[in-house]
Structures are given as structure tokens and as C-alpha cells.
Amino acid sequence: MSEKKNVLRVENATMQFGGVVAVDNLNLEVNEGEIVSLIGPNGAGKTTAFNVITGVYAPTNGQVWFDGECIVENYPQGKMKKLYKGQHAGEYTHVKEPTPDEITALGMARTFQNIRLWKSMTVFENVLIAKHMRRTSNMFSATFRGNHKEEAAQRQEVEELLELVGLSDVKDELATSLPYGKQRRLEIARALATHPKLLLLDEPAAGMNPQETLELTSFIGQIRKQFDITILLIEHHMDLVMDISDRIYVLDFGKLIASGVPAEIQNNERVIDAYLGVTDDAED
């Protein structure tokens, strides 16, 4: 695995809110072309980890590397200096807090746990807006249609993308009028429209029935192939996770408790404990 090019590396990332440590010293790597899953019980800090990677929160301490470059770095300052409970204090000395859009521009796009589509807009528009980032026109030329070539090209690309993901028959419908599974699909399509190298999916199968989950599994496999893309996902549906993941990381109470290929994770005692709470019950 190590001969493969590294896409994402999270290094000693800790996220602390007041006195609560939501993510504790997370270390994670995603290599080119992989599908990596991040699993763990509810409240384990998976989404927080996502938010740290995508720039929604700046970590309290630690670094995030993308494509061989350090994109996020922070260390405890001010009040947090005293409050900080995590490890590796004092190791990092720089502050790098890009906003989420800057990170997206680097080639990382995400979906959300609770679908966040633009409600008043059609399927087509939802995907088209994601292309806004890749524009070259300024506001004046865009207003006076100096960019009509670029606009036409973008529309063409969106048409093609919608065709690929199988949404072109509903492209003029309101995004929120779609059935749930298609909304998920649309959100993924929207993320793909930003031309990411790395796609982060936050519980893509949440709320889906087994049939829809199956479809999603094959859909994810399909986009990986077609777009030659690397994927990091959070998921609870173990079937899906075990089915498509190359490697899995397991979080519990903010800490990484295991990592490895699906087969290893399936038999890992700590993971089973964390999910089933066996040891706790035994002690009762």
C-alpha cells in the first residue's frame, strides 16, 4: 500500500470544544484510488473529524495534509492553552485555517449527513452551481454574458454528469421533490461537479432501505471507476462498509481504536466491544 501515492493524511488532530475532546489525536491516511471508511458508534466524533478535514472547524491541535501539502495546521492558543487535554501539545507552531471553500478548491468535496441541497433550485441548477468554483469569469463579464462559452461548456458538463449518475430524467425538477435516495445521489453528483480528487461521504446510506443501500454500493463503486477518484466515507451500514472498503478506521469516544482491512476489523475485539458494549455489560 505504501507505494501508492498518499492523498490525505491527518496527523495528530485533536478537536476540543471547551472541556470536551471530540476528536482525540486522530491519525488517518487515505491513498490514491482507495475507498476508506471511518466507522464508530454514534457520537464517536466521525462527523467532527470530517469537519476538521474540510475546514468547517479548525482543529485545536494537529495537521491535515492533502496531496503532499500541509493544508491545515493549528495549536492551542489563548484560553485553550490552559484547557487543552490532548497530546502532542507544543509540537505544532503554525496556524493554517483555510475556509471550506478553499479546501474544496484544492480538490476535496463532501456530502452531508443531513442532506443539504439548495432547496429552491432544480436538480440541474444544484449541480451547475458547484461548477461556479471553476469559473474564470469575473462578475462583470458574467453579468454581461462575456462568459457564454464557459457557461455553455459548464452546462454541457453538467448534462453529461447527470447522465452518468442517472438523474438526467429529473434534471428540471426541484431538488427537494426527489425521493430520498435520489437526493443522496444528487448530493454526490454535486460534489463530483467540483472535480475533486478526494470525495468525502458523510453517511451516504443513512435512512435507506436495503434495496437502496445495495444500489448505492454499486453506485459508489461505479463513480470510483468512472471518475478515478479516492473516497473517504462515514457509514453505519456494515454491509456497505465491508463490501466496498479497502481499509477501515474505527473511532470511539474521539479515539482511534482500530484500523485495517475489513476482515481484520470484523474480528477486532475492541471494535466489537465498542459497538456492542460487551465489557460494560460484563462489569455490571
Binding site: 470544544f17 462527523t47 469537519n51 468547517v56 452531508f112
Partner: protein
């Protein structure tokens, strides 16, 4: 010296009157996340009620009636203009508040015929007293004391009664409070009732000092009281009161600056500048709690 005392006195009295309005703002904002733009106008209507009621009946009847009338008005505004919009976006509710404010002002213009009205003389409040060689009205003295008493009473209400607990719960989390069986509408109504009652008391003190009541008189004290609430940390009652006193005193000092500097006209502008500065650098105000948005 006498000049300094007089400035401080007027600052404290104005601050106290702002405080009484600001409490209404801060409580409503704490619970509904709504800038109740109509609150200043409720204050104005309380003034007009005072004028019309006192014209026909003695003070000991009219003043309690003013209080009751204002409370009913506050309650009615909430039920008619805000409650139907409970599920609407925040912006709609705020626009409704602006609409109510517009309606109250225009109604007042219609009823008074656009003339400034003179507030009746409440003898206890308008009596002249002399402090440190500075003559002033009794209301100036009464205001801060009354404010402190009311704040203490209000904190007791909020911390030690059932309805107060409801208020705290609702301000923390609207939906969860609802799920936990708190009767949201009762709590909100109670908040508006308390706020309006304080505005009515504030109006009595305010208009005893500044006797002309015009339809737009409530707008400016209303806005300033809101600034005070933000300054003190929205949702915090002691914060609002302290903020109001600071703003009242600052304004009074600015008005008292030497005329040659020609800056006294900026006393209102100062308040708004303060607002912008507070919002930008410390949006939680002096005593507000920090809230993080969930993604």
C-alpha cells in the same frame, strides 16, 4: 461639579428607562431569537394610554389600567402577529415585527391627529428635588432604584418559579423544551407580558421626565434599548440593565461635551457605532453565552 452631577443624574435616569425597555427586548430575543421592533412602540402606546386614561379618571385608577392595557397589547401582538409565524423563517417574523411597529405608529398618528400630546403630571415623580446642589425630578431618583428592585424580582421569577424555569429551558433549546412538555405558548406569552409590563412602567418614568408623546417617540429609545441588550449580551437580564446604564451615561456625557467641539449631535450615532463595534468584536456582549452553529 454641579454640571458633572447633573450629567450623571440624567445619564442614570435615561439609562434606567432604557433598561426597563431593554429587558423586554432581551427576554424576547433570548426565547424567540426575534428583534421585537414593535417593543419601542408598545412603550409609546403605554404613554398615550397614560394620557387618555388620566384625562378621564384619577391617577390611582388610570396608572394600573395603563399597566393592564399595555400587557394586553403585548400579549395580543404576540398572539396575532408572531404566533402564526412560529414555523416561518426568522426573517418573516422580524418583518412582521416591523409591520406591527408601522401599524402602531400610524394608528397613533391617526388617533392623536399627529399632534404631540402632553403626559399628565404624576406629582410624586415630577416633584423637584435637589441633589448635590443640582435640581432634578423625583423620577430621576426613583428610576435606578425601581430598576434594581425589578431586576431582582425578575431574577427570582426566572430562577425560582416554574414559568421561569420554562423560560430558561425554551431559551436554551426551543424544540427540546417543547418535546419535554413545556407549554411553549404560555412561556412566550409570559415573556411578552413581563416585557410589556416593564415597558409600561418605563413609560411612566420616561414621560414624567420628557413629557411630549409623539407617535414616533418609541422608535429611538426602542432601538437604543436593543443596543443595550446586545451590549450586555443578549438574553442576559443583568447584562441588559448594565448595558442600558452605560449607554445612558455615555450619551449624557456626549451631550454635555463642550459645544465648541460640535459633537453633541453624535450621541445617537455613538450608540450605533458602539453596537457595530460590539457586534463585530464581541458578538456575545458583556455577559452573553457563546453558541456554536451545528453543521
Amino acid at each position: 461639579m454641579q454640571f458633572a452631577v447633573s450629567i450623571l443624574l440624567s445619564g442614570i435616569s435615561v439609562g434606567g428607562q432604557y433598561a426597563l425597555i431593554a429587558i423586554g427586548y432581551t427576554m424576547v430575543y433570548g426565547i424567540l431569537r426575534l428583534i421585537n421592533f414593535a417593543h419601542g412602540d408598545v412603550f409609546m402606546v403605554a404613554g398615550l394610554l397614560g394620557i387618555y386614561l388620566t384625562a378621564t379618571m384619577p391617577l390611582y385608577i388610570s396608572l394600573p389600567l395603563v399597566l393592564i392595557g399595555t400587557v394586553i397589547l403585548g400579549f395580543a401582538i404576540e398572539r396575532l402577529a408572531y404566533k402564526p409565524l412560529r414555523t416561518a423563517p426568522r426573517m418573516s417574523v422580524m418583518i412582521s415585527a416591523i409591520g406591527v411597529s408601522y401599524l402602531l405608529q400610524n394608528l397613533a398618528t391617526y388617533i392623536t391627529g399627529g399632534q404631540p400630546m402632553t403626559y399628565p403630571n404624576i406629582a410624586i415623580l415630577t416633584k423637584t428635588v435637589t441633589i448635590a446642589g443640582t435640581p432634578t425630578k423625583m423620577a430621576v431618583l426613583v428610576t435606578p432604584i425601581l430598576v434594581i428592585i425589578l431586576v431582582v424580582a425578575l431574577t427570582q421569577l426566572i430562577n425560582h418559579t416554574k414559568i421561569g424555569m420554562g423560560m430558561r429551558a425554551v431559551s436554551k433549546d426551543f424544540e427540546t423544551a417543547q418535546l419535554m412538555g413545556i407549554k411553549i405558548n404560555n412561556v412566550i406569552s409570559a415573556t411578552f407580558i413581563v416585557g410589556s409590563a416593564l415597558a409600561a412602567i418605563g413609560s411612566m418614568l420616561y414621560f414624567s421626565c420628557y413629557t411630549a408623546v409623539t407617535p414616533t417617540i418609541g422608535a429611538l429609545p426602542g432601538l437604543k434599548a436593543f443596543v443595550a441588550a446586545v451590549f450586555g449580551g443578549i438574553g442576559s437580564i443583568p447584562g441588559a440593565v448594565i448595558g442600558a446604564f452605560i449607554i445612558g451615561i455615555c450619551e449624557s456625557i456626549i451631550k454635555g461635551l463642550p459645544s465648541a467641539w460640535d459633537v453633541t449631535v453624535f450621541s445617537d450615532a455613538f450608540t450605533f457605532a458602539l453596537l457595530i463595534i460590539v457586534l463585530v468584536f464581541k458578538p456575545t456582549g458583556l455577559f452573553g453565552e457563546k453558541a456554536t452553529d451545528k453543521v
